[in-house]
C-alpha cells in the first residue's frame, strides 16, 4: 500500500466522518486545521482510495488535492530576521511552501548578514540539520553569495535549495561543491509578491523543493525506514497521553525520517523509548530518541531496515 500526500478542504459539518474514513482506510492525518467554518486536513492516504474519499467528501463540499510536501519539515533560512528580509522575501516563500503541505520553520541567523562577517553558529547548524531540507534565501549580489555561502552551509548535511537574486545559471556557476537545487531571481525585495510573474517564481521554488525531496525520498527508499513516520506519530499519540495537552498547531511534527515530539526531553524520552510498537518491539528499538536543539523538544530519528532488520 503506497501512501500519497493530500490536502482535504471542506466544511466543518460531518468532517469527523472523513477523518474516520481516512483512518479506517489505513491513512494518517498529519495535521488538522479548523478555520472558522472550514477544515483543512493534511493527510497521507492510500493511493487507490483517493477516489473513494473524493466521492464521500463531495456531498460535504469537500475537495481533495495532491500536496507533494505533506510530511516534510522544511527550514527556510534567511541571513537575518531584520526589516531587510522581513516580511516579504522570507515570509512569502515560507508561506507559499506551507500551502503545499510542508511544515516550514523560519530560521533567522543571528549573524548571517554581510559578506565577510557572515557566520553560522552551532545551534543554527544543528537546528537546520533537524529538518528534511533547507531553503536558503540569500541576497541580490553574486559576489556576496559566492563569498558567504560556503560559510553558511558548513556542517549542513540536509539537502539545500539555494535561492538568490542572480539568475539560476549564475548561482550554479558560483556554488562549489554544488547543492541540490537552485532558484535564481528570488533575492532580497521589499514588496509583497502579488504579480503573476512573482507568483511564478514562488511556484518555481516549490517545484525545485518538490524535485529535491522526491529525489531524497528515492534515496531513502533504497534502505526503507523500519516504520513509517506517520504510523509512528499515531502510536505516540495513542500511547503518550500528555501529547493531548500540547497547544502547538502540530504537537507531533512528521518528518521524512522521523518525528519531532513537542514534549520535554528529560521527562518523556524514556516514556517514548519504552512505548511498544508491536509485540516486543519498542520505539527505542526502531529509532534513536534524541534531544532536539529546538526548545527542549524530542527528536525521534527512525533507523533504516539495514540497522534493525525490522519493517513494521
Amino acid at each position: 500500500m503506497t501512501h500519497v500526500p493530500v490536502t482535504y478542504k471542506g466544511g466543518i459539518y460531518r468532517h469527523d466522518e472523513i477523518i474516520d474514513l481516512i483512518e479506517d482506510l489505513g491513512g494518517y492525518i498529519i495535521q488538522k486545521h479548523v478555520i472558522a467554518q472550514e477544515i483543512v486536513l493534511q493527510a497521507l492516504v492510500p493511493r487507490e482510495d483517493i477516489e473513494l474519499i473524493r466521492r464521500i467528501g463531495k456531498p460535504l463540499t469537500g475537495e481533495i488535492s495532491p500536496s507533494p510536501l505533506v510530511g516534510a519539515e522544511i527550514a527556510v533560512v534567511t541571513p537575518s530576521l531584520e526589516i531587510h528580509h522581513l516580511p516579504h522575501a522570507s515570509c512569502d516563500v515560507a508561506e507559499y511552501i506551507r500551502r503545499f503541505g510542508a511544515k516550514t520553520n523560519m530560521v533567522g541567523l543571528a549573524r548571517g548578514f554581510g559578506k565577510r562577517i557572515a557566520q553560522l553558529n552551532d545551534e543554527e547548524r544543528d537546528v537546520i540539520n533537524e529538518h528534511d531540507l533547507a531553503v536558503y534565501l540569500l541576497g541580490d549580489f553574486e559576489a556576496c553569495i559566492e563569498r558567504k555561502f560556503p560559510v553558511l552551509r558548513r556542517g549542513i548535511d540536509v539537502p539545500i535549495v539555494l535561492c538568490g537574486g542572480p539568475p539560476t545559471e549564475t548561482l550554479k556557476k558560483i556554488v562549489d561543491p554544488p547543492v541540490d537545487g537552485y532558484v535564481g531571481g528570488v533575492g532580497r525585495f521589499m514588496h509583497r509578491t502579488k504579480e503573476s510573474e512573482e507568483i511564478d517564481k514562488l511556484e518555481e521554488v516549490v517545484g525545485e523543493v518538490t524535485r529535491v525531496l522526491d529525489r531524497h525520498r528515492d534515496v531513502l527508499a533504497r534502505d526503507p525506514l523500519s516504520i513509517s513516520p506517520a504510523r509512528l506519530m499515531d502510536i505516540v499519540t495513542e500511547n503518550v497521553e500528555e501529547i493531548q495537552d500540547v497547544l502547538s498547531p502540530t504537537p507531533i511534527t512528521v518528518q521524512m525520517r522521523g518525528l519531532r515530539v513537542k514534549l520535554p526531553y528529560d521527562t518523556f524520552a524514556p516514556v517514548i523509548r519504552k512505548t511498544v510498537v508491536d509485540e516486543g518491539v519498542t520505539i527505542g528499538d526502531l529509532s534513536t530518541v534524541l534531544p532536539s536543539r529546538m526548545r527542549d523538544y524530542i527528536l525521534v530519528r527512525i533507523k533504516p531496515f539495514s540497522e534493525t532488520n525490522l519493517v513494521i
Binding site: P79, S80, E82, I83, H84, H85, F113, G114, K115, R116, I117, A118, G139, D140, F141, E142, A143, C144, G165, P166, P167, T170, G185, G187, R188, F189, M190, H191
Partner: protein, 192 residues
C-alpha cells in the same frame, strides 16, 4: 519615480542593480518620501563592499506655526486656542507645557486649549510648533539604511542644506570616502 528628477543606481552586477532599483522605489514609496527627493544617486559595489547614496531634497515645507492650524482669541478668562488640524495638537501641547507650565494649560475638549490666567495673546500665533525638515531628514536617513544591504554596520551620514548622503560598509570606510561622495554628487550635476 516620475516625481524624482534624477534617479540612478550604479552597480557592477546587472541583476543586483535592477533589484536595488526596485527596492529603492518601493521603500521610498512606502515611507512617502518620493515627493521630498529631487535627485538620488545610489552606488553599490559588493566586491569592496561599499554602499553610497547621495541626493538632493526639494524645497522643504516651512515651519508650522500656531496660526497655520488654529485660531487664537484672548478673553478675560485666558487665551483660547481653537484647533483646526489635530495633527499638530501633540507638538502644540508639548510646546505650551514647556513654555507656560502644565498648570496653566487646560484642554476642556479635543479642539480647544485654554491658557490661564491672563497671558497676553501677542506672539502666541507666531510660535513655531513643528519643523517638518527635522523629521524628514531623520526619515531620509532611516530609509537609506533600509535600502542599503543589510549588515553594513559602519556608516557615515550627513544632511545639511538640501543635500544628504549616506556611506555604509561592513569594513572600515576608506579614508578617501569624501572624494567618492563628491564624485557621486558630480554625476548628478552638483558641484562641491
Amino acid at each position: 519615480m516620475e516625481a524624482v528628477e534624477y534617479f540612478e543606481v550604479e552597480c557592477p552586477e546587472e541583476a543586483g542593480r535592477e533589484y536595488y532599483r526596485r527596492i529603492t522605489e518601493v521603500v521610498l514609496l512606502d515611507h512617502n518620501l518620493l515627493r521630498v527627493i529631487q535627485k538620488l544617486h545610489i552606488f553599490i559595489d559588493p566586491r569592496v563592499p561599499i554602499f553610497v547614496a547621495t541626493g538632493l531634497t526639494r524645497k522643504l515645507p516651512s515651519v508650522v506655526r500656531v496660526r497655520d492650524f488654529a485660531d487664537v482669541n484672548a478673553r478675560e478668562g485666558g487665551v483660547t486656542i481653537s484647533i483646526g488640524d489635530e495633527a499638530y495638537l501633540a507638538p502644540l501641547l508639548r510646546m505650551l507645557w514647556g513654555k507656560y507650565g502644565k498648570e496653566h494649560v487646560n484642554q476642556p475638549d479635543r479642539f480647544t486649549v485654554i491658557l490661564t490666567p491672563g497671558e497676553g495673546d501677542e506672539g502666541i500665533s507666531d510660535l513655531p510648533v513643528y519643523d517638518p525638515s527635522e523629521s524628514i531628514y531623520k526619515d531620509l536617513i532611516y530609509v537609506l539604511q533600509v535600502i542599503q544591504p543589510e549588515g553594513f554596520k559602519v556608516r557615515k551620514q550627513y544632511y545639511g542644506g538640501n543635500r544628504f548622503y549616506l556611506v555604509a560598509s561592513e569594513d572600515t570606510l576608506p579614508e578617501d570616502v569624501e572624494d567618492l561622495v563628491r564624485q557621486k554628487f558630480a554625476l548628478m550635476g552638483v558641484e562641491g
